[in-house]
């Protein structure tokens, strides 16, 4: 404190005395409210300490809670990637572009094939059903006149192998 000035220390001391006196004169109503406030604060502290974790556990939790959002984001990204990634069902080989499937595509792309699909050739369906009834035997074992059409040029006209 600035004791270099004459009487400053006395002045400070007198101010202190006056302020202490004013503290002593605080009324009963204010003291009562302060008392209630103090009890409320202590109850709050007691409630808080009952649920407070030990210091080391709290530090551990804080550290891990800090990383939790980042971990959660990574996990969510991995889950999204797993769901969206194209994958075959387990136990089955992955689909390959076999010669048969390419053949089917050719049939569909072909103009004649399109006519056949649009229902212009009932004979073909009859032949296909007969094939199914025979238990899927090769076309060479089929009776005469019900053989598989030879090439696309015969589709929709005459199923017999011999034209004319």
């Amino acid at each position: 404190m600035s004791r270099d000035f004459n009487g400053t220390a006395d002045f400070e001391s007198q101010l202190h005395t006056l302020l202490e006196e004013s503290v002593q004169r605080v009324g009963g109503r204010a003291r009562s409210r302060l008392n209630q406030a103090r009890h409320a604060a202590i109850a709050e502290a007691a409630r808080g300490s009952r649920w407070r974790l030990p210091r080391r556990a709290a530090a551990w939790l804080r550290l891990h809670l800090l990383w939790m959002p980042a971990g959660g984001a990574v996990a969510a990204a991995a889950l999204v990637a797993f769901v969206l990634w194209p994958h075959a069902p387990q136990g089955y080989p992955a689909a390959e572009a076999s010669p048969a499937s390419v053949e089917d595509l050719d049939l569909v792309a072909d103009g004649d094939g399109m006519d056949m699909m649009q229902g212009g050739d009932g004979q073909f369906y009859e032949w296909a059903m007969a094939q199914a009834d025979q238990g899927g035997q090769p076309a060479s074992a089929a009776p005469a006149g019900q053989g598989k059409p030879q090439g696309n040029q015969n589709a929709g006209t005459d199923p017999s192998p011999n034209p004319g």
Binding site: F11, L19, V23, L34, A40, I42, A45, A46
Partner: protein, 195 residues
């Protein structure tokens, strides 16, 4: 351990209860001075009581596990923030209220009849002198700039040292010394003849 009765705080022996006891003693030691400091800043008894109550709750809630020697600067820092909030809110409220035509100010600052009741003081003349000096001091204190007032009251009334006052005010020790010295000069100029 028997449970505390409903509505009361169990302060039986355990580390946390010992801390609660220490906190209770600390608050009991500072509450009236804190109230006077808040009252000087807010110039309203109920507002000052609210500010002290909020500061107590905040200290208990958030800082009760800090070392006990840190409580005082922390408590006064919280109180100062609370006072500033209330001053801001009051400014806004007054601005809004000034537009209302039907506001009534009568009865808001009525004196408490119990507090105003005459006491059986044995030295009425001395008391009169003290009353006069105290009234002048309180008037001079409320007229001080806020930071000077704060530095003066924390140093003189609460007895904090310069470092603790700086922590409570959130400024440097040099600033505390400056504020305190200016406050002292102003008070001396105004009260020099009375005290």
């Amino acid at each position: 351990m028997p449970a505390a009765p409903r509505g009361e705080v169990d302060l039986s022996d355990s580390p946390s209860n010992a801390r609660c006891r220490a906190l209770s003693q600390f608050l009991a030691g500072v509450e009236v001075r804190a109230f006077k400091i808040a009252q000087a800043a807010l110039r309203h008894e109920d507002d000052a009581l609210d500010a002290v109550q909020d500061a107590m709750l905040q200290l208990a809630r958030a800082y009760s596990d800090r070392p006990a020697e840190e409580w005082k600067p922390l408590f006064y820092r919280i109180l100062e923030n609370r006072i500033r909030d209330m001053q801001r809110r009051r400014t806004v409220r007054n601005r809004v209220m000034s537009w209302l035509p039907f506001r009534s100010e009568a009865g808001e600052d009525e004196p408490d009849p119990i507090a105003e009741a005459a006491s059986d003081d044995p030295l009425p003349m001395r008391r009169l002198e003290i009353d006069e000096a105290m009234g002048a001091l309180e008037k001079a204190l409320t007229a001080l700039p806020r930071r000077q007032q704060q530095a003066f009251l924390l140093r003189t009334l609460e007895g904090l040292d310069v470092a603790q006052t700086a922590r409570a005010m959130g400024c440097s020790e040099g600033s505390v010394k400056t504020h305190y010295f200016r406050a002292l000069q102003t008070l001396r100029a105004q009260l020099g003849e009375l005290i």
